[in-house]
């Protein structure tokens, strides 16, 4: 384990690249053919405790059970809503999974098309059928605000180590920000501040590989953030 704690060297791999031909085990984003390990994605190779993973640089969000996501209502049924969470599949939200008591056919009174919600992935079964829920603490309808979209693989960079990056953006722009695991980010605040915050997040999305990212985002925010921030 000692050597794996060292900062893993970054190597961009493309589909079909040979990753390893002997002892290492296949992780996510890889496949095995004739006993050899190949990448199946365009991404960054990373080795962690005998497993080779390829961390994707792009692609669609594939839901994982218990992920917190930001979603947009795109359709209403008599007893459910359809939520767009940027996954390959539609994500239904059943009336039993919301914190309100909803009469049959009365769904539109609670959530309407275009509303933004925070939700949790209730389950994703082996046939990739998704269900989301709002019956968890913190899950709610997000009033007002803006939604921006980044690649889901960049979410960890947007949040930063222990939430450092997102905390900095929140403090310096005086905005309220929620980051979904699916790469949808909800921002609320003064209009000018929202623009600064979304610009900063866009910057993270584009330059996620750079190492001194936090400093550069900080510098950007210091130049553009409102006076009382700092």
């Amino acid at each position: 384990m000692e050597n794996t704690n060292a900062k893993p060297k970054r190597e961009v791999v493309v589909p079909g690249d040979l990753l390893d031909d002997k002892e290492l085990r296949p992780g996510s984003g890889t496949y095995v053919q004739d006993g050899k390990l190949y990448s199946s994605l365009l991404g960054v190779k990373s080795i962690r405790s005998n497993y080779v993973n390829v961390i994707p640089l792009s692609g669609r969000y594939l839901p994982q059970t218990a992920d917190t996501v930001v979603g947009k209502i795109i359709d209403i049924g008599p007893s459910n809503w359809l939520v767009d969470i940027n996954a390959p599949y539609p994500a239904p939200l059943h009336v039993n999974e919301v914190p309100w008591r909803v009469e049959f056919g009365d769904t539109a009174r609670f959530l309407n098309v275009g509303d933004v919600i925070m939700a949790k992935i209730l389950m994703m079964d082996e046939t990739n059928k998704i269900q989301v829920t709002m019956n968890e603490s913190g899950m709610r309808k997000l009033q007002g605000g803006h939604v921006i979209q980044v690649s889901y693989s960049k979410v960890p960079r947007v949040i930063g180590k222990g939430g450092s990056m997102i905390q900095m953006i929140k403090n310096m722009t005086d905005c309220r920000v929620f980051v979904g695991q699916n790469g949808m980010i909800w921002i609320e605040g003064e209009l000018d501040n929202i623009l600064v915050a979304s610009k900063a997040i866009e910057m993270i999305d584009e330059e996620a590989q750079a190492s001194n990212l936090t400093d550069r985002v900080k510098e950007y925010l210091e130049r553009n953030a409102p006076a009382e921030g700092q």
């Binding site: 961009v12 493309v14 589909p15 190949y38 994605l41 390959p88 599949y89 990739n128 330059e207 750079a210």
Partner: protein
């Protein structure tokens, strides 16, 4: 076909100055369309091709869904201004055929069973055509797929080998295609040299065919390197900075 055009001169040079086994100059760029999930722009000789990938996404119409895997829907389209005589826009028999064979070639490398019921949509637009557009389209489409983060076994390079003036020539251009005797587009999976697309129009002897396959496969490997390079280039900016600091 009889014509007074000399396809290959005494020095072995072709009408555009290439040797028999030379590819036309090629340029690939990944990630050119921000609104698509993945995209690529490719130029080979005078061909200009744009490929865009959307998905995996919910498959419409529903009856096309496959509960065991994703389907690959490719649309190959030639712009009306892509050829010297205006092409009547819209789908025709030729583009339907090319769409089908490209879909099948791509389906063989994409790990479709990871996305049951979904659809992966590939759009190939030919902006300028100068022979070999199906190969150019397929080459671009596979770069666009990788750019879209699609899990796939390998990239698919594709090239055509033809015959003109009785000689085998790699990557025919318009003149060689029109006045030549045969055209053999092929696409492979470079890692295993599996053939995923092979068509022929015209005539070749068995020996010529074997030799054409050999040069074609070798050229595909050359194109494969350019595809990989295009993908790496797209994400190299951040990396270089990291090395410096």
């Amino acid at each position: 076909m009889d014509s007074d055009i000399v396809m290959v001169d005494d020095k072995g040079k072709r009408v555009d100055g290439r040797e028999a086994n030379d590819l036309r100059p090629m340029k690939i760029e990944a990630g050119v369309l921000p609104n698509a999930d993945g995209s690529a722009y490719l130029e080979i000789g005078k061909n200009k091709v744009l490929a865009a990938v959307y998905g995996p996404r919910e498959c419409h119409p529903r009856h096309l869904q496959d509960p065991t895997k994703a389907i690959v829907q490719c649309k190959y389209n030639m712009q009306s201004y892509s050829v010297s005589d205006r092409k009547r826009p819209g789908p025709d028999r030729r583009s339907a055929e090319i769409s089908k064979i490209i879909s099948e070639a791509l389906e063989s490398v994409i790990l479709t069973e990871l996305f049951p019921r979904a659809s992966i949509d590939v759009y190939i637009e030919i902006m300028q055509a100068n022979a070999g557009t199906r190969c150019a389209g397929l080459t671009a489409a596979s770069v666009a797929l990788a750019d879209a983060g699609m899990p796939m076994r390998d990239l698919v390079p594709s090239v055509a080998v033809g015959k003109a003036d009785g000689k085998l020539l790699l990557d025919l251009n318009k003149e060689e295609d029109n006045f030549g005797e045969a055209d053999l587009p092929l696409a492979i999976i470079p890692k295993t040299d599996e053939v995923v697309l092979l068509q022929m129009d015209g005539h070749m002897t068995k020996e010529e065919f074997d030799s054409a396959m050999k040069t074609g496969v070798a050229a595909c490997h050359e194109i494969y390197e350019m595809q990989k390079d295009a993908l790496r280039r797209r994400y190299s900016v951040g990396e270089e900075e990291e090395v410096e600091e």
